[in-house]
Symmetry: C2
DNA sequence: TCCTTCGTTCGTCGACCATCGTACGAGCGG
DNA sequence: CCGCTCGTACGATGGTCGACGAACGAAGGA
């Protein structure tokens, strides 16, 4: 096989629709994941978000974010590191992620 | 009755959550409605959007937009005029609507 | 080697969503 | 007055969504 590891299907941003991103961001849990990822700027493992949901549900939410092009996942050993696709998202939908993140702190 | 007409329940923007707006905008039909409303800046009747859906489905989508605080509806005679709550939305979620609208033209 | 941790997969469940057709009421126009 | 247009209300339906628990495999640590 050409690439033996880290096979987790990431769409090209060109194939991602605006509505897909909006739908992905329209859930509080996923928005919280994105917020934390944006906050520390780097990679985070799935279990490190303190999410109030079951593991299998978390798997679901990370998959939605990944398929919407919002997040990348990289496997390393037994855990999976996730990161925001910030620059790519910015290139595809200028200003969008920034304005969503900027409005997260609002009451 | 104090206000005899035009009773169609509009939420205060302060009561609207970011996720509500994102969810409302995450549907292609509703996004198209918002796009057309933004384009002409004024009021539009429900039937004037050329939507490829049944009338009853359109009623549903306008209700979702209204309940998410995105749109106002004003009854006049037998028809209903809809308008974007642009300034209010801008005050509540600065930059959000603009960045969504700005990314609508993208392929 | 054994046990724990991490995340996935699978099946299930209830809730919600987009859609439709039908029937309806309120105006407007001839 | 009669018909047309506009939008709503009311099911009904098929599909998707968020959530869960249980079972699993792959590392990694003791």
């Amino acid at each position: 096989m050409p690439t033996p590891d880290t096979q987790t299907e990431h769409p090209a941003l060109a194939d991602v629709e605006l509505t897909d991103v909006l739908a992905a961001l329209s859930d509080p849990i996923r928005l919280e994941i994105v917020r934390q990822l944006a906050e520390d700027g780097g990679e985070r493992t799935c279990g490190s978000f303190g999410l109030p949901i079951a593991k299998s549900t978390a798997t679901h939410h990370f998959r939605v974010l990944r398929q919407a092009g919002v997040v990348t996942s990289r496997e390393e050993g037994t855990r999976k590191y996730n990161a925001l696709r910030r620059d790519e998202l910015e290139a595809r939908f200028p200003g969008l992620l920034g304005s969503v993140l900027g409005n997260l702190e609002n009451p």
